[in-house]
Symmetry: C2
């Protein structure tokens, strides 16, 4: 039997390739099954659930089994003989394996069961507009997440543990400092806008005339993907309610978007946002195909990419002519009487609303801070799940000056917690900060961002992102990429300067023509 | 370690359940990945190929591994303690395992490689209209198939081995006898029709006026599925070039159909045909979910079902009013001046053509006989692949009185051989024979077929099929189902009587109004 084991380095690498190809197949199947939910017949749901759980279990057995452990240990012991790519694969696979092994099997299976149960309860709770329908299951979830953290990382705070799971090397203290800095910068800007709104000192832009044919909107979303520079030979575009992006590998990315017959701009901006995710996934170096490196490295960099294309490009004043031209090819009548300035203002209207999904760039981080504060209190055991709606309303009052009219507008508006994503929200805000730092860096490097946007050619911008951020895949971590691409660690000053320029008192956003 | 092995019968059954669920997940992923080819972006092809091969390998390891072998042997040893369902699962899994193990691993991997290569060459050969592009690879395929048969079943003819792989318990002698009987019945009918056509004694029906909007055709195909009685909550309908049906399980069946803007009837009849396959798969008893029994039992019964809905119902004189009404809801203008009789004649026009896909019910078996004769000669080593086009033309001349104009109309018109499906064609003809026997049996049992068809309600017919044919899944074999459903073994007399009534000299098909 011993003879069958790989004994020299090249045999070990072949065994690694085989392990990674098998895992690729399982992950590829999971991605396609998950995406196919958007068009599967309703009766298919139960079988898909069984298949997904089995595929996940098969992958867990592969990665966490003794054979993979021995293989990775043998390769680590020969790190000096490995090239950079293989060394990166061994490092990332080893980290993934360690992360999975941290959570005891019985707690993990309880977690999976609870996530299934509470995802279904979230839908029921929304139909009833009643947080109480979801609360008991979520209370179990919070207790379980605290128990998992206590078991997996005894010396570390529960919230620290989960933040680090979603954004490696982050922590509660890291986000407290970041959000304090953001809040200090955003509060006066928000107050200024609120004053102008109260004084009626805000220009009312002319709106697009609908309705907008959904099939034609899907074609427009494809046009937007082409404009962003996505290789259409790699893109699958589907229709759903809540937009999302998924990927099999760099050669097969999938965007599901929503075409609302009454709202063209929301779908179009979502197309630009999801396109940023798809660009990232499809720009990972092809030599990482069929390995664990062939995806984006973190939620933070992913959101930096998506928010970059949605906000820093899509909502940019310089881009308004190209945005108008894009819409004009498919919906010329809708634009009658709508100037470029109108369009720019339309996609930048500030709302003090309880809805994160309708949030503008300025207030978006405040929505995240509400969720951060609630998560902190839950993980610290200082707040019960039953008390969340009241705390939520207080925080919205404090940060945005509005209160939700009920649970549906309140904590039931997000699906994340019911899916087990506690500690996920902060990376959205982090993505905005990182993206602004990328924007500043590419301008410093001489990329003619505004000229490029005005011409409707995103090529130079996308090429910078490929070269400095995306092509690494998971071979580099968030912090490494950030430092190498921008020459400094995370620096929120770029983000705050950007917001000041866009929403400050000197901004043309609210001026008359 | 011994303690972990299942030791009592209920533990053995739990282990069987676990094996079957894991295999279900792998097969489910393969089905969805394969079906998703119809909309995947072009660049996704390579990765899908890798994933499919890995999933297949994972399934092979599961089914052919020692653990499954021991489990099945232990269960067989306790057959007396098992209920009928579990006993059937053990039997069918054991047969599948034995079939897989019959083919030596090195020949099987050569086969997979060769199938991939020749499928691609088939497309190239079609573009070049040149059999010579494909012939060398197909020559290798024929040699390999003969070698596999010699290794797997030393005392058996090569063609016998492969016929049995596709339709268990069939053989070359079985099909020779069947085709002799069919040819004897069909030849005089075909000669009669040919004489009437030569004499100009064939009524020319009024044709449907196109073009036909493809999106609206897809809706019509969905209407047809509903009319057949398919649970639309289980059906996924997609668009492709060559129609096919696939299934995950009884709760998730997938039909891909072709909507030709110039030809409504071809797509509609394909919808009825594929609907028969989908009805079969979706009618298997739900208690077989996640087991090896949850699919159709053979190609013969599958084709019996699909050809039943396409021909015996769809092309039935009694169905013409319902067929006309079906079309009328979506394409009323196309039917102007087209009577029910016209429509019936349109879907039953006899063509002496080199194209199997355009064949009518009468000549269809003759097209299969051509392929059967070529396969026999190839497997016997009596014919080289290079000689196939000439032999093909001679056989077409003999059976149908026509010669193909080139390779494209000749042996390149079917993809089957290049996909490794040597021995598959005969089951198509067998399906027609079995279906006619079902039709006779349900009439004998008192199902009011013609009245039901005239009313456009296929319920009583479909219920008979569910009860007598479909619900068994793979728990019963072709021969058992046939005998239990019709009270006799295979009997081609029903099929020949059906053809005589429809295409004989007394048929209203060719009469004037």
């Amino acid at each position: 039997m011993e003879a069958e084991r790989p004994s020299n380095t090249s045999e070990l690498i072949l065994a690694l390739d085989a392990l990674e190809r098998r895992r690729y197949a399982l992950a590829s199947a999971q991605a396609v099954l998950e995406f196919s939910e958007i068009r599967d017949p309703p009766e298919a749901a139960a079988g898909r659930g069984v298949a997904m759980a089995e595929l996940e279990a098969a992958d867990h057995e592969l990665l966490c089994g003794e054979e993979a452990g021995e293989l990775l240990a043998s390769l680590e012991a020969r790190a000096g003989e490995l090239d950079d790519d293989v060394r990166a694969r061994v490092r990332v696979l080893g980290r993934d394996r360690a992360d999975r092994l941290k959570i005891p099997a019985e707690l993990e299976s309880k977690r999976v069961e609870l996530v299934n149960r509470s995802s279904a309860l979230w839908r029921e709770a929304r139909e009833a507009d009643d947080w109480g329908v979801l609360a008991p299951a979520l209370e179990e979830m919070v207790e379980l997440y605290r128990a998992i953290a206590a078991s997996a990382a005894p010396g570390v705070g529960a919230y620290d543990f989960w933040l680090d799971m979603f954004e490696p090397k982050s922590s509660e203290a890291f986000f407290i400092e970041l959000f304090d800095e953001l809040a200090a910068g955003i509060a006066p800007l928000a107050a200024g806008v609120r004053e102008r709104m109260a004084a009626g000192d805000v220009f009312e832009p002319r709106r697009l005339a609908g309705p907008f044919d959904p099939a034609e909107q899907m074609e427009l979303f494809r046009d937007a993907a082409r404009l962003e520079g996505i290789d259409l030979g790699r893109l699958e575009l589907g229709s759903t309610i809540h937009p999302f992006t998924s990927s099999v590998d760099s050669h097969h990315v999938m965007i599901a978007n929503h075409a609302d017959p009454d709202d063209l701009l929301s779908g179009l901006l979502a197309a630009l946002h999801e396109g940023g995710h798809a660009l990232y996934e499809s720009s990972v170096d092809g030599r990482f195909d069929y390995t664990c490196l062939a995806h984006g490295t973190s939620t933070g960099i992913h959101e930096a990419s998506s928010r970059f294309y949605e906000n820093y490009l899509g909502r940019n004043r310089a881009f308004a002519p190209a945005l108008r031209a894009l819409i004009e090819t498919r919906f010329p009548e809708a634009l009658e009487g709508v100037s470029e300035l109108d369009l720019w203002r339309l996609v930048n209207e500030v709302h003090f609303t309880p809805s994160r999904l309708d949030a503008d760039e300025l207030t978006y981080p405040l929505h995240i801070m509400v969720r951060f504060e609630v998560e902190r209190a839950l993980m610290a055991g200082e707040l019960s799940v039953a008390e969340v709606p009241e705390r939520w309303a207080e925080l919205y009052e404090r940060y945005l000056g509005v209160r939700p009219t009920g649970d549906l507008e309140g904590p039931l508006s997000d699906v994340h917690w019911s899916m087990g994503l506690i500690g996920y929200f902060p990376s959205y805000a982090l993505g905005g900060v990182i993206g602004a730092q990328f924007l500043a860096a590419m301008k410093t490097a001489g990329v003619p961002v505004d000229e490029t946007l005005a011409a409707g050619d995103l090529g130079p911008i996308t090429r910078w992102m490929v070269e400095h951020v995306w092509h690494f895949g998971r071979a580099e971590d968030t912090a490494e990429i950030l430092e190498e691409a921008t020459g400094e660690p995370l620096n929120p000053a770029h983000y705050l300067a950007y917001l000041e320029e866009k929403f400050g008192s000197a901004s043309p956003l609210f001026e008359g023509d």
